[in-house]
Symmetry: C2
Subunit: 95 residues, 2 copies
């Protein structure tokens, strides 16, 4: 099940996926710094108000970009849950 048209689609997907992985790596580098900063200042790892605002704003961006806002929200929770696990680990290793 391979042909030129499908191969061209797949090259585009591969480029997008590589960019997504690099951006996720960048995101976790920043949230790692935030985790260290919050732990040093004894701030809680979670900030529900900020998370709620983020979800709302990115659902709206998703809709503008033609991405299913529900999928976008699931994706954000998927990423933010991992961030919180990391922050808890940092806080625990500091205590």
């Amino acid at each position: 099940m391979s042909d030129d048209q499908l191969d061209a689609f797949r090259r585009s997907i591969d480029d997008v996926d590589a960019a997504l992985v690099r951006l996720l790596a960048e995101r976790f580098r920043i949230t790692q710094e935030i985790g260290v900063y919050k732990a040093a200042h004894e701030m809680p790892p979670e900030d529900p108000v900020r998370q709620h605002q983020k979800v709302d704003g990115l659902r709206q961006l998703a809709a503008e970009e033609g991405l299913d806002p529900d999928f976008c929200e699931k994706f954000l929770h998927f990423v933010m849950d991992e961030v919180i696990r990391n922050h808890v680990r940092i806080a625990e290793s500091n205590s």
Copy 2:
């Protein structure tokens, strides 16, 4: 729990998140085209060999970029599961 340093970190995160949402929208636009193409050519929605290769390649990229390869793999399955649900829907609406 707001200060200048935390605000700067958060602006960076917001920029990365907007880029992630735009890339995901782009990815689903391409996979939507692939879904239509596969349905028209009566190809199966899934391609396990291709998926396996993708996961391996992106785990390696993740490791190079400092992203947890296990998280990267979970992310890919999260996205690919949604793609397959969409492809099945396209195939069903064509049959």
